[in-house]
Symmetry: C2
Subunit: 448 residues, 2 copies
């Protein structure tokens, strides 16, 4: 069966999936949790194959850590399923109840989206999380994980799928795509697939967005900013920028650009630059930022009694970049630096060069913060905390299917709420529009 046929069959089954009761969906999740534990030896054995292949292919240790699926990761995902079971049902929520006229009642009720295609990175725990979220929200899912964890994914999928079907889910509830060419096939299934959620590199997500008629939810890049205002508290600014840049450099919510108010640049930038250097961060930026940072590094050198060495270091450590070169997502220990005249310039810079993901102002001035948070056009606008907080778990959503920088549908970290839509149910007793058009009857609109 090709992808067109498979998703078309899934579409037909999506109505059955959407009709499963909350109890049935939570019961499936409970059985999935037990089955994952019961089949852990097969899953770990499959993961051992993936790990051996990773070893052979010389994959970096940091990446291998993500590929690994062991007792610890199993405990994480089963705990996650327990939490998910406890979350309120996202389906069947009555969002509006209004009597339009006597005996004519309108309800807006949340319901599953239908068929969702999710393409995610090589992380076996992601497969469990995503499929659990889809079960909880009554959606059918096409799952395509990274090839580096193909064996683990297959083992996990087989357990989850067979358990779901054995406990009441329709046959077309889930489908695993394992071949890379199936991604292109999936992109053409706009008649059957309601939403695509791609996770991965900028280039990959851009490719998805540019090659399908299916709505796409996600983000291509994360060019996040931290702006140090003239009213910043330096004792907050330094830990925030260090965390935002270095806590996990590969994350989309890491800060890529530091903006600093001109009035405090001379005073604060040297200390910030030295601290960043201590954490292994290389700086790039405008010529005027370079001047201040070079002095900081030089002073640093002098303190250590080695002026000449520090001067050389500072040339290696700081690269001057043009004003129009602030749209790079480093995902590495590199940070762009720019001095701005005021908060307005910071806002304009962020709206122009940013990716509308998450941006922070460090300031003690509530008015400046309010202005920044209103005018910066991003999914997350922060005062005095690290941009790394942009995450569904940290927001208390229990789980996250991805982060969206779109303004349509869900924005920011997307939990269960982003996996449902709604429908309007209208209950009448023979009412016709002509009676209202001719003025024979009038609407009275009473919210119930």
């Amino acid at each position: 069966m090709n992808m067109q046929e498979a998703t078309s069959k899934m579409k037909a089954d999506s109505y059955k999936m959407a009709a499963l009761s909350e109890d049935t969906r939570n019961n499936i999740l409970a059985h999935v949790k037990d089955a994952l534990i019961a089949h852990k030896d097969e899953i770990f054995a499959a993961n051992a194959k993936d790990m051996a292949a990773a070893e052979e292919n010389g994959i970096a240790a940091s990446v291998k850590k993500r590929l690994k699926f062991d007792e610890h990761k199993l405990a994480d995902v089963t705990n996650g399923i327990n939490e998910l079971i406890k979350l309120a049902d996202p389906v069947g929520q009555i969002q509006l109840k209004r009597e339009l006229d006597e005996g004519l009642v309108l309800q807006r009720v949340s319901c599953p989206i239908g068929v969702i295609g999710i393409i995610f990175e090589a992380r076996p725990d992601a497969l469990v999380q995503i499929s659990s979220l889809c079960i909880k929200s009554g959606n059918c899912a096409v799952l395509k994980g990274g090839k580096e964890t193909a064996n683990t994914n297959k083992a996990l999928f087989d357990v989850i799928y067979s358990t779901a079907v054995a406990n009441g889910a329709p046959e077309g509830c889930m489908l695993q795509a394992s071949q890379h060419n199936e991604i292109d096939e999936l992109l053409s299934c706009n008649k059957s697939v309601d939403l695509l959620i791609p996770r991965g590199s900028n280039a990959f997500v851009q490719y998805i967005m540019n090659n399908t008629k299916i709505p796409v939810m996600g983000h291509a890049d994360g060019i996040c900013h931290t702006y140090i205002d003239k009213d910043a508290d330096i004792d907050k600014a330094i830990p925030i920028i260090i965390d935002a840049k270095t806590q996990y450099t590969a994350a989309c919510n890491s800060t890529e650009t530091l903006l600093i108010h001109r009035d405090v640049a001379d005073e604060m930038l040297p200390a910030i630059a030295r601290s960043l250097k201590d954490h292994g961060v290389k700086l790039r930026g405008t010529a005027e930022a370079a001047e201040i940072i070079k002095r900081a590094y030089t002073t640093d050198g002098q303190t250590n009694g080695s002026h000449t060495k520090a001067a050389t270091d500072s040339q290696n450590d700081f690269e001057i970049m043009g004003d129009d070169d602030f749209n790079t997502e480093y995902l590495d220990l590199i940070l762009s630096v720019k001095i701005v005249n005021d908060v307005q310039e910071a806002i304009a810079h962020i709206n122009h060069f940013g990716s509308h993901h998450t941006d922070c102002i460090v300031t003690e001035n509530a008015d400046t913060a309010a202005l920044f948070m209103q005018l910066v056009d991003s999914a997350g606008v922060y005062q005095n905390c690290s941009t790394r907080f942009a995450d569904g778990f940290r927001y208390g959503f229990g789980a996250e299917v991805g982060i969206s920088t779109s303004k349509i549908h869900a924005r920011g970290p997307v939990g269960l709420e982003g996996l449902v839509t709604y429908k309007y149910k209208l209950y009448g007793h023979g009412q016709i529009v002509d009676d209202y058009a001719t003025g024979k009857k009038q609407f009275h609109f009473k919210n119930l």
Copy 2:
């Protein structure tokens, strides 16, 4: 200035537009209302030109009625603006307030989408409604109306735009596109335009959807169904189907297909068919539906004492169509008819052939209705009332920017709520993620 430059400038101004206070936006609307009345002579004169051109081009009377902008239409739109001013502010609503940890507070706040491109039919009142909705919701708008009302649109736009700017809106708040080729230019402005709302023919909306990277909200077609269940009350069924088909045939929410349960087809279909015939509706459908309807027409003929004429009529009035030919949107006094074995077949037919717009079941059986309304995958699912109710005004939204059949973002009739998104605001005091990652601190997630 071309469309790329114009929308790029508009994008920069959209942050100012988004920051206008509720008072400023409502004040602009109040002034717009007064200005339309003050400038009514110029507007009516411009409309006279459009009406004269319509006369010259032999445009149908029914269409001319929509082009006309007179005292009556002016009163409608100014009343509409008054109602809009009274509606709750869609911007700045706090949708979620949660303490993640002590001194770390998350808020989800509604905000304007930004720049919206709206392409609408030749109806001058639509220009006023749409621009008012965008002002109320703090959005910038590119407006492209039908060419048949170009003079009226220009006069209306000039009044609205100059009044908005004079009362605090930024220069880039609104832009009128008047040339058809500007639509294609607009489609390429995905860097500046956040959302497109096309209204018009199926082919036109499909064209928009297939030729832009900008998210599109709307509906290409409206293939709505009315299903007469075995437990239907015939006294409700007949007025409902007559209204759903004939009250305004050109509307997207008119019923295009009548489905009827086999158990009651013999009993109910003849009466329904005769009533539809009396209202000038031509029927098409499956061979078995034809058999029943021909008998109805013949009986009808016999009653009138003219058997032969009726038999001939029935051949002209009923066209047999294949089972796979139910995907036509007639927008005319034509109705497809099919007999189904049960509600499940009706649901499957609607989900397969429908456009997920609005579909109705006529039944006195609450369980059957519940099943239908859960499983039919449409923006509107109705029991015992006309599909023509699918409309923002009739739902009590005060105004409508369009109807969406998408499941992403707004679905069904879209009022102000569909013109806003949200952002997450996070207020901290120097919090960093590393403290939570290392277990030094824990989130406690308290909704405030």
